[in-house]
């Protein structure tokens, strides 16, 4: 429609016009179908997980409260409590944020504000490559390097621990945090920096007092995305967490996060046990939903 020559060419040629419109509506329908496909997948997955996961509580009289706050997970004896796993997931996520956020943020600042172009050209792709490494390789790395390191240098009986999980998750969330934060810092108008520098502020002062506050919403989004990555990670964690069923009280305890519980036992589970794993999925899904909600709120505020 936008290119006049073609339209001219088509004048008085009804057949070709008809075909054009048909193609037009056909392709728009095709696009709609593609768009619906992701919505359909979402509905199917959510519906399936919720249907299977809610079944024991609706039809078989299990208490949801006991499921959330129970500390015993012994499927063989009909005990399903995921409290240790909820705590483990939360601890691991918070721990990895404490390490990952400052490093990621400083990397983003360095790349966008301080680094000479040549240096940034090397570091930036490296960070992005980090995001492309399959998570199971992080797990293997953790198992082969971090776990023995903790065993040998901290004198622990077992290196499979909350600490190992935190270290690996922190590295895994780096690319997400760095990329998103870097973009938002770069989007801060140059005039802000120039104004601050003209008033006599130092470069570092400008970065922390002017640029970072201006990019606040983007940085928060970066953190929330990193958090989502950490809480949903399974393959890397399963190898290094130890998967013990205890409520962790120290960094050296081995833990079993929610994701790991599902992946570990789904292979053999049947009946109620399997449904309880789906229920674990519901809890995990709720965590992710809350995160997404927070993220949406943040981006909405950023847009204003």
């Amino acid at each position: 429609m936008t290119s006049p020559p073609i339209e001219k060419h088509n004048i008085g040629n009804g057949k070709s016009n008809k075909r054009k419109y048909m193609l037009e509506s056909l392709s728009s329908k095709l696009f709609l179908l593609c768009a619906l496909l992701s919505v359909l997948s979402l509905l199917l997955i959510v519906g399936f997980v919720f249907y299977r996961g809610s079944h024991p509580f609706i039809a078989e009289g299990y208490s949801f409260f006991e499921f959330i706050f129970g500390v015993d997970w012994v499927p063989g004896e009909d005990k399903f409590g995921i409290f240790p796993m909820i705590v483990a997931s939360i601890y691991a996520t918070i721990g990895s944020l404490i390490i990952g956020v400052p490093i990621g943020l400083f990397t983003a600042i360095f790349l966008s504000e301080i680094a000479p172009k040549r240096v940034a050209k090397i570091i930036s792709p490296a960070v992005q490559l980090l995001a492309g490494i399959p998570s199971v390789l992080y797990g293997v790395f953790g198992l082969a390097i971090i776990v023995p390191f903790l065993q040998n240098y901290l004198g622990l009986a077992k290196g499979q621990s909350l600490l190992a999980v935190i270290v690996v998750l922190a590295v895994m969330m780096l690319p997400t945090i760095v990329t998103v934060a870097e973009t938002s810092i770069r989007a801060v108008p140059k005039t802000y920096r120039e104004g601050s520098l003209a008033l006599g502020a130092s470069e570092i002062g400008t970065i922390f007092k002017v640029v970072v506050p201006a990019a606040k919403s983007g940085i928060t989004a970066a953190i929330v995305l990193g958090l989502g990555r950490a809480i949903g990670e399974t393959m890397a964690v399963i190898l290094i967490a130890g998967n013990s069923l205890i409520v962790p009280t120290s960094l050296t305890d081995s833990i079993r996060p929610l994701t790991t519980n599902i992946a570990l036992e789904m292979g053999y589970a049947a009946g109620v046990h399997q449904e309880m794993l789906f229920a674990t999925g519901i809890v995990l899904f709720s965590f992710i939903m809350i995160l997404n909600f927070v993220l949406a709120k943040i981006s909405a505020r950023g847009a204003n």
């Binding site: 509905l43 199917l44 519906g47 399936f48 919720f50 249907y51 299977r52 015993d72 997970w73 012994v74 499927p75 063989g76 004896e77 005990k79 198992l143 776990v147 023995p148 065993q151 009986a157 077992k158 290196g159 499979q160 399963i238 190898l239 130890g242 998967n243 013990s244 069923l245 205890i246 305890d253 081995s254 079993r256 570990l264 036992e265 292979g267 053999y268 589970a269 049947a270 046990h273």
Partner: protein, 282 residues
């Protein structure tokens, strides 16, 4: 509410169909439809014997006009089915009780399953009693020094809940999943347990026989080494037979031929491929 449940059911059916059509094996469907009306052998029982029986049945069906239906419902249920005639053959991973034998059940050992307790190669403890093994895995003994080893904390490594090896181990050593020490590392799979134990001086775990190698040290039980030979001579205690049971006169020709096939060299090769110990090892 009803609508929601129906909708959920619909979703479930749709997703199942999607999954089935995605993973479904066409050839499988074909053989099934072409086998209608053939003699059928109904087998049910142990989930530990099940995978082995499935493999044997798959191989046997290829060259014989027979349909074998296998239901993995647990040893006791399988034995009951065999007694009641619901299934022609029951699968069991435990020995028959006297009252079951009295009801006229006949057993055929088709394979043995052996489990070995493993530690780090530097561990000085080389021999344990079943009672000591139980104390280790239930957390009553927490230091190797109490068992004659170095002054090191014991780190227990177990398989995940639902694993057949774990069930077998717990059954023979005689402790329940609830009794397993809570701080135990849970590893998925024999290989995973082996690497975990091989990397940790403190660790103790259990694996199937075929995973034994130099990276770990094996523990003798009551002074008996974990070898297939000792299992066959019923000396080694951390082992159990895989049984096919049937009523004295309840076996059809087809069923008898299937059991003969399992005990033949061809069948026993499949047995050792799945990691079990063949009955006629020589």
């Amino acid at each position: 509410m009803k609508f929601i449940r129906n909708a959920a059911k619909g979703l479930f059916v749709i997703s199942l169909t999607v999954i089935m059509s995605a993973c479904g094996n066409n050839a499988d469907g074909d053989t099934k439809s072409s086998k209608e009306g053939l003699p059928t052998i109904a087998i049910s029982g142990s989930t530990s014997v099940g995978p082995l029986a499935e493999k044997l049945a798959f191989k046997y069906e290829e060259s014989n006009n027979v349909k074998i239906e296998i239901n993995q419902i647990g040893s006791s249920a399988g034995i009951t089915n065999a007694i009641n005639g619901v299934s022609e053959i029951g699968m069991s991973s435990r020995d028959l009780k006297q009252e079951e034998i009295d009801k006229g059940l006949k057993e055929t050992i088709i394979a043995y399953d052996g489990i070995v307790v493993v530690t780090h190669p530097t561990n000085k403890v080389k021999n344990l009693t079943l009672e000591q093994v139980k104390k280790i895995f239930t957390g009553k003994v927490t230091n190797w020094k109490e068992l004659g080893g170095d002054d090191l904390e014991i780190v227990v490594v177990s398989r995940e809940d639902g694993s057949g090896s774990r069930d077998a181990f717990q059954e023979i050593v005689d402790y329940s999943s609830g009794e397993l020490v809570r701080s135990a590392i849970i590893a998925s799979g024999n290989g995973n347990i082996k690497t975990t134990v091989a990397m940790n001086k403190h660790a103790v775990g259990f694996i199937s026989f075929e995973y034994i190698d130099e990276s770990i040290s094996t523990i003798d039980i009551d002074g008996v080494q974990a070898t297939a030979e000792n299992v066959l001579q019923q000396q080694y205690k951390l082992a159990r037979p895989f049984l096919f049971v049937h009523m004295d006169k309840g076996l059809t020709d087809a069923g008898q031929k299937f059991i003969d096939f399992i005990l033949s060299p061809d069948g026993q090769v499949i047995v050792s491929e799945t990691g079990a110990i063949p009955v006629n090892e020589s």
